[in-house]
């Protein structure tokens, strides 16, 4: 018996550790958890990918001179930031298909619907990030662009928004981290992402160690990202 196996066996002989973080069980469920993590990443990346343009659009609407666009953006942002994501998921994936049965015919509806709700939810937070970013750009930039003949939207697109990217990158990454963790709520819809996998494995093994395994995997994903945010913020502070 190797040294590692003997340590592992010794740890498993302690009841609390066996129940909570059994090395043997963790090792056996790890490949299954990683399967779930793949789906977690897929949901988070797709949600953010569609959430960014949506949020950018909402931010531009919110800063528009047109009252109707501002109102539209405000309702959107307030609703999705002011209600729990879980409720939004229930509405999107349970309520809407009942109200509009044609939705149920979409293949893989749970997947696409999940991505859509995550994107729309994330977009509301991204909108506020971009709005703050755009407002932080000196108004002389817009004036210079307009004086050259740029329309308002072209000035936004070519002059203002590119300047906001450096500033919004840290908060956008924070938003991505939040979204990554929020994907765990998809387990309420029986989507087998990381948290759901942990739940299945936990009841299958009659042991809660898989949850510890899931937590470790979430940390492995989020800690590098939080370090990245800290690094970007430091660089931004130097260059400003």
């Amino acid at each position: 018996m190797s040294f590692l196996t003997s340590i592992s066996n010794w740890l498993d002989s302690i009841p609390v550790i066996h129940q909570f973080a059994s090395p043997k069980i963790l090792a056996s469920v790890f490949p299954f958890l990683l399967e779930g993590a793949k789906l977690t990443i897929l949901f988070a990346v797709l949600g953010e990918l569609f959430g960014i343009p949506l949020g950018l659009l909402a931010a531009v609407f919110k800063l528009s001179k047109l009252k109707i666009l501002r109102a539209l953006a405000t309702v959107y942002v307030d609703f999705f930031r002011g209600t729990p994501l879980l409720v939004q998921l229930y509405i999107g994936l349970f309520a809407l298909p009942i109200a509009f049965p044609v939705i149920q015919k979409i293949p893989d509806f749970t997947f696409y619907g999940g991505v859509a709700v995550l994107a729309i939810n994330s977009g509301a937070y991204v909108a506020e990030i971009f709005r703050a970013g755009i407002e932080s750009i000196h108004k002389g930039q817009m004036e210079a662009a307009r004086s050259l003949g740029f329309s308002y939207l072209k000035a936004m697109w070519y002059v203002i928004i590119p300047q906001t990217f450096r500033r919004v990158l840290p908060p956008l990454t924070n938003e991505f981290i939040a979204l990554l963790k929020d994907t765990a709520l998809l387990s309420a819809l029986a989507i087998t992402e990381l948290a759901m996998k942990a739940r299945y494995l936990s009841s299958w093994k009659a042991n809660v160690s898989p949850f510890m395994g899931a937590a470790l995997i979430y940390l492995a994903m989020t800690i590098p990202l939080t370090r990245l945010v800290a690094y970007m913020e430091k660089r931004l502070a130097i260059s400003d």
Partner: protein, 242 residues
């Protein structure tokens, strides 16, 4: 070319322009002087519609820019503007600053625009700085890029809003020299400035503004040397005493 007819501008309840009438003909170099808060900059900003006039009309080539039916983006291309605070686009190089409007607004060919942009930068004495970002340029160099950027749109008239006020004294001359060359080349210009020497040298007409009205108007030499209006006298007395 430019005509302001009874232009009034309010900011809230305070009236900063109280009926401005001004006609600028092609080739003229108008020098606008006056104490701060006199409405000089506001008048300039109204000509480019960066401020909306409250009452009155401003015509550029006979087209009323206060008429919402006229395409302001097209009209603005005829009027170049240079700002006190440069307002270069910090995410673009000097050359990109100069070419972005021709390429994105006028939809001109990229290669032609770049060639022209290099020529433009050469004209303001910045050959070799094409790929520098604004943060790597001195204030005088930045302001010259800003002039080149406005010129790249081939405007019919250039507006200068206290363009040397934010510069260190030793950098003022290089910017004024570029402006002098422009004036000598026949560009129509309206310059809000405190540079009396520059005004005397290249100005065809000088205007003294105070409290939102044009108080006095004359040739620069005459206005600076023999001001008739009491306020002009007082203002010039203070400025020249420095």
């Amino acid at each position: 070319m430019i005509e302001l007819v009874d232009v009034h501008k309010y900011f809230g309840h305070s009236e900063v322009l109280k009926g401005i009438n001004l006609k600028v003909e092609q080739g003229e170099v108008i020098v606008v002087i006056g104490p701060s808060g006199s409405g000089k900059s506001t008048m300039l900003r109204c000509i480019n519609k960066l401020e909306d006039v409250t009452k009155g009309h401003i015509y550029i080539d006979g087209q009323d820019i206060t008429d919402p039916k006229n395409d302001i983006n097209a009209l603005r291309q005829k009027v170049g503007m240079v700002f006190q605070s440069f307002n270069l686009f910090p995410h673009l190089t000097a050359l990109q600053n100069v070419t972005i409007a021709p390429i994105r607004v006028q939809k001109k060919d990229r290669r032609d625009s770049e060639q022209k942009g290099r020529d433009m930068l050469a004209r303001v004495g910045l050959t070799g700085k094409e790929d520098f970002f604004p943060s790597k340029l001195s204030g005088g160099q930045q302001q010259r890029v800003a002039i080149a950027r406005a010129l790249a749109m081939e405007p019919e008239v250039m507006l200068f809003d206290e363009v040397t006020s934010a510069l260190d004294p030793e950098l003022v001359k290089e910017v004024l020299d570029v402006m002098k060359n422009l004036a000598l080349g026949g560009m129509t210009m309206v310059c809000v400035t405190h540079e009396m020497g520059f005004g005397r040298e290249v100005g065809t007409r000088a205007i003294f503004m105070d409290e939102g009205v044009i108080m006095e108007e004359n040739t620069p030499a005459e206005l600076f040397a023999n001001p008739r209006n009491k306020r002009t006298q007082a203002f010039l007395g203070k400025v020249l005493a420095q």
